[in-house]
C-alpha cells in the first residue's frame, strides 16, 4: 500500500518539482523505502515458510502414540500397489549383443540344423524363423519384447507379448487370457501361449541363463519351444506337496512336430493327405516339488506331447519321398535351486537338466515304389544340463552341456543311425540391477550338420538385456 502511494507520488513528481536535485532526493527516498519494504516482505515470507515447514514436520512425526496414529489412519481398501492403475502393466525388453563364431558367421544356422532323421518342415516350409537362426558375425539385435499384462475384469487375466525383430517384423509371441476364479485349484488359459511342458519351454529368451537355446529344445521343438494356439487346463490339488497337472489342446502349427506340406499340387504328387482339422497337438504334463525348506527347492517334471498329423519330404537322388504319420515327444525335467540368504544372488546355486525324446511314426507315401507303405520310425533325443553359481554379489558363472541325437535313428522297415552333436558353454553374467544384465558366453560346438559333415567351431556372445517399465516377475 505504502509503495503504491509512493509510486503514484513519484509519477506526479516531475510536474510539481522542477528542481533536479529534489527529484534525485525523492528517488533516493523511494529507493530506500522500497528496499526496506522488500526486506520486511522477504522476512515475513521466510517466517511463513519456516512455520509451514514446522507444521509439516509435526504432521510427519507426531508424538508417538498409538491412539494418535489410529485416528490418522483412514480405513482403506485391500491393497496399495501400482498395479491398481487401469492401464495394463507394460514392459519393454531390449536384447542384443555382439556375436562371433569361427565358422564364418554360420554357427547359428548349424546349431539350428544339427542332423536328425526327421527334417520337420525343412526344405518345404519357410526357413524356421527361430531365435538365433538369423544371427550373423558382429552386432545383432535380438528380439525386442513388449509385454502387456492386466486383470481384464473380476473373471479374467490377460497378457500379450509382442516380439519386434530388428527388420521391423512383429510377431505375437503370446496373447492369452486365463481364468481367475475357477474352484478346486483349476485354471483355464486360452489363446496363443508358450506351453508349460518341460522347464524352459515357457521362458522368454531374455529370462534364459544362457544367451542361446539349448540344442535339445532348438532342434526338437524349435527356437521358440512349443508355442501354439489353444487351450490349457491346469490343476493344483490342495496337497501337502506341490503337485500340478496340466493338459493342453493346441492347433498344431509346429514346424518340428506337426509339419505340413502346404502346397496342394506338391502334396498330391507326394501322396500326402489334406490337412486334418485342428486341433492337431495335445500335451500333458505334471510337476512335483517336495518341501525342502527355505534354502532348497527341487522341482521334478514330466511331459508328453502328441501330434495327430506330421508330414515330411525327404530328397533322395532319384526320388522325392513323402512321409506321413503322427509325432510324439516326451521329456523329463529336474531343477534344483539353492537360495543363500545373502543379497544380490551371492552364493545362490542352480542346477537344471532336461531330457527330451522325439518319436515320429511315419509311413512312406511316395518315392521309390519298393518302399511305399514302409514304416519309418524316426527317433532323436536331446539333453542339457546346466549349473549356475553366484560367485560374488550380482555376478554369476555358469556351465552348460547340451547334446542332440545320442539316440538318433530310423527304425521300422529300415535301420539307420546318425551321429550326435554336442556343445559346451560357459557364461559369465553381471546383473547390475534387477533391470539390466550383461553377459559373456563362450561355447565350443561339435556339430554334425544336416549333410552329415562334422563341424567344430567356437562362438562368443556379448549380450545385453535391459528391461523398462513394470517390474519383472521372479518366476521359479
Amino acid at each position: 500500500m505504502v509503495l503504491t502511494t509512493l509510486v503514484a507520488l513519484a509519477g506526479a513528481a516531475p510536474a510539481a518539482a522542477q528542481d533536479a536535485g529534489e527529484i534525485a532526493e525523492l528517488r533516493t527516498l523511494i529507493e530506500a523505502l522500497r528496499s526496506d519494504y522488500e526486506q520486511r516482505l522477504s522476512e515475513l515470507e521466510q517466517r511463513l515458510e519456516s512455520a509451514e515447514r514446522a507444521a509439516a514436520s509435526a504432521e510427519r512425526q507426531p508424538t508417538p502414540s498409538v491412539a494418535a496414529q489410529r485416528t490418522v489412519a483412514t480405513p482403506q481398501g485391500g491393497s496399495v500397489t501400482v498395479g491398481n492403475a487401469f492401464n495394463p502393466q507394460i514392459s519393454v525388453i531390449l536384447d542384443g549383443g555382439y556375436y562371433h563364431d569361427d565358422s564364418g558367421g554360420n554357427g547359428n544356422v548349424l546349431l539350428n540344423e544339427t542332423i536328425q532323421p526327421s527334417l520337420g518342415g525343412h526344405g518345404e516350409a519357410e526357413h524356421d524363423h527361430a531365435h538365433g537362426a538369423d544371427i550373423e558375425n558382429g552386432f545383432n539385435l535380438r528380439e525386442t519384447e513388449i509385454a502387456f499384462t492386466a486383470a481384464v475384469d473380476p473373471y479374467f487375466d490377460a497378457a500379450v507379448y509382442l516380439a519386434l525383430e530388428s527388420g521391423g517384423e512383429v510377431e505375437i509371441e503370446e496373447a492369452w487370457f486365463a481364468t481367475r476364479n475357477l474352484p478346486a485349484g483349476l485354471r483355464l488359459k486360452a489363446g496363443k501361449f508358450l506351453s508349460d511342458i518341460g522347464y524352459l519351454n515357457n521362458q522368454h529368451p531374455h529370462v534364459w541363463s544362457f544367451v542361446d537355446q539349448n540344442l535339445a529344445y532348438q532342434n526338437l521343438l524349435g527356437g521358440h519351444g512349443l508355442q501354439d494356439i489353444g487351450l490349457q487346463l491346469t490343476w493344483l490339488p490342495d496337497l501337502p506337496i506341490y503337485t500340478v497337472f496340466g493338459a493342453e489342446i493346441l492347433q498344431g502349427d509346429q514346424d518340428r512336430l506337426t509339419a505340413f506340406v502346404g502346397e496342394d499340387a506338391e502334396r498330391q504328387a507326394l501322396g500326402l493327405s489334406a490337412q486334418k482339422d485342428g486341433p492337431r497337438l495335445y500335451s500333458l504334463f505334471a510337476k512335483f516339488s517336495p518341501e525342502l525348506g527355505y534354502d532348497h527347492a527341487l522341482r521334478l517334471g514330466a511331459s508328453y506331447i502328441r501330434g495327430r498329423q506330421h508330414q515330411e519330404v525327404h530328397e533322395a537322388p532319384l526320388f522325392e519321398t513323402g512321409l506321413e504319420g503322427d509325432s510324439a515327444l516326451w521329456g523329463i525335467d529336474v531343477v534344483y535351486k539353492y537360495d543363500n540368504a545373502s543379497a544380490y544372488g551371492y552364493r545362490d546355486f542352480n542346477l537344471q537338466a532336461e531330457y527330451l525324446q522325439s518319436n515320429k511314426d511315419l509311413l512312406v507315401r511316395s518315392g521309390d515304389p519298393a518302399t511305399i507303405g514302409n514304416a519309418r520310425n524316426l527317433t532323436t533325443d536331446g539333453v542339457y544340463i546346466q549349473g549356475l553359481y553366484g560367485f560374488a554379489p550380482r555376478w554369476q558363472l555358469g556351465l552348460r552341456y547340451d547334446a542332440l541325437g545320442r539316440t538318433n535313428e530310423v527304425s521300422g522297415d529300415i535301420r539307420q543311425r546318425f551321429d550326435s552333436s554336442d556343445r559346451w558353454s560357459s557364461v559369465l553374467t553381471w546383473t547390475p540391477t534387477e533391470f539390466s544384465r550383461l553377459r559373456l558366453q563362450y561355447s565350443r560346438s561339435d556339430i554334425t550338420t544336416i549333410d552329415g559333415i562334422r563341424e567344430e567351431f567356437d562362438t562368443l556372445w556379448l549380450q545385453w538385456i535391459l528391461s523398462m517399465g513394470t517390474h519383472g516377475a521372479h518366476n521359479f
Partner: protein, 292 residues
C-alpha cells in the same frame, strides 16, 4: 477310544482354524498374537531374506493354494514374486481386493511417498516406503485392523481377536515412553537401505544417510567418501541387516569411529508379540549406542 477322541478333537480344531499365509515373519507374528490357536500360520519368507528379491517358489504356491487369508506387507515390496505366486496358486479367495487378502500398507499411512518414478534413482517405491513393520505404532494399528479381518473368517472368536489385538496395542503403548526416552539423545543413524526409516521417524532420530547411493545399488567408494566427509566429527551409528553385505557398513563405522550393528530386519520366524517388542528393543538399543 481315548485316542480316537483326541484325534477327533484335533481334527475339529484343524478344520476350524483359519489357514493363514503370511509373506514375512512380521505378518506371522501378528496373526499368532491375535488369533492364538484359532489360526495356523505359514510364512513364505524367513526374516533372513530380502523380500525384494525372492522367487515365486513351488512351496509358496502350495502354501497359498488352500489359504483362507494372505497377510502381505504390500506397497510393492513383494512385487517380484507374490503376484506370480498368488496367480499360480489358483486360489481366488486370496486375490488382492478380496477378503482373503490383507495388506499392511493398506491399513496405515506410508512415509516417503511420491518420489519421482524414475529408475535412474534406483529401485524406488513411489507409493511410499514399504518397510512398515519397523514402526511399532503402525504395527499396533495394523493389529487392530487384522483382528477385524480375522473376525470375518471366524466370527465366533471375533471378541477374542479384538481382546488379543488390544493387548498387543497396550503392550506397545507401555513400551513407547521407554523407547522414546532411550532414543531422546540418539545422535543419528546411517542405514544400508531405506528399511528402518519408520522407526527413526517415529522417535525423531536423525537419519544421516544411506550406504546405498540409490535404493537397490550396492555401496560405492564415492558414496562412502561422501558419507565420511559429511559425518566426520559427529557421533552416530551404522546399522545394517543380516542379509546386507557387512563390508561397507563396517568400514564406514571404523573410519568414523562409530559403532556398527548387524540386525535382523524382522522378528524371528516363530515370533509372537513379545518377540516383536524384543526385536524393536534390539534396534532401539543399537541406535542408542551411537551416543557413546
Amino acid at each position: 477310544m481315548k485316542l480316537l477322541a483326541l484325534f477327533l478333537v484335533l481334527a475339529a480344531r484343524t478344520a476350524t482354524a483359519i489357514d493363514v499365509v503370511a509373506t514375512s515373519s512380521s505378518g506371522g507374528m501378528l496373526v499368532r498374537e491375535i488369533a492364538h490357536q484359532y489360526a495356523t500360520v505359514e510364512i513364505l519368507a524367513p526374516p533372513d531374506r530380502d523380500l525384494h528379491y525372492l522367487q515365486a517358489r513351488p512351496s509358496m504356491m502350495r502354501a497359498l493354494r488352500g489359504a483362507d487369508l494372505l497377510v502381505a506387507i504390500g506397497a510393492d515390496l513383494e512385487l517380484g514374486w507374490l503376484p506370480v505366486a498368488v496367480r499360480q496358486s489358483a486360489n481366488p479367495r486370496i486375490l488382492p481386493g478380496r477378503p482373503g487378502y490383507f495388506e499392511f500398507a493398506a491399513q496405515v499411512d506410508l512415509v516417503d511417498i511420491g518420489g519421482v518414478a524414475d529408475r535412474a534413482l534406483g529401485d524406488v517405491h513411489p507409493l511410499g516406503n514399504p518397510h512398515i513393520y519397523m514402526d511399532p505404532v503402525r504395527m499396533a494399528t495394523i493389529a487392530t485392523a487384522l483382528a477385524e479381518r480375522l473376525a470375518q473368517f471366524d466370527p465366533a472368536h471375533a471378541e477374542d481377536f479384538r481382546i488379543h489385538a488390544e493387548a498387543f496395542v497396550a503392550a506397545i503403548e507401555r513400551k513407547l515412553p521407554d523407547w522414546q526416552a532411550r532414543l531422546q539423545d540418539a545422535p543419528g543413524v546411517v542405514l544400508f537401505h531405506q528399511d528402518a526409516n519408520y522407526l527413526l521417524y517415529r522417535f525423531d532420530v536423525p537419519l544421516l544417510g544411506f550406504l546405498e547411493p540409490v535404493p537397490g545399488i550396492p555401496p560405492t567408494a564415492a558414496q562412502l567418501r561422501t558419507l565420511i566427509n559429511s559425518l566426520t566429527g559427529r557421533p552416530g551409528v551404522v546399522l545394517y541387516t543380516t542379509f546386507q553385505p557387512a563390508q561397507a557398513a563396517e568400514s564406514l563405522a571404523r573410519q568414523l569411529n562409530w559403532p556398527a550393528a548387524r540386525l535382523p530386519l524382522e522378528p524371528p520366524l516363530d515370533a509372537v508379540g513379545s518377540d516383536y517388542i524384543a526385536h524393536i528393543d534390539r534396534w532401539v538399543e543399537a541406535i542408542a549406542a551411537g551416543a557413546r
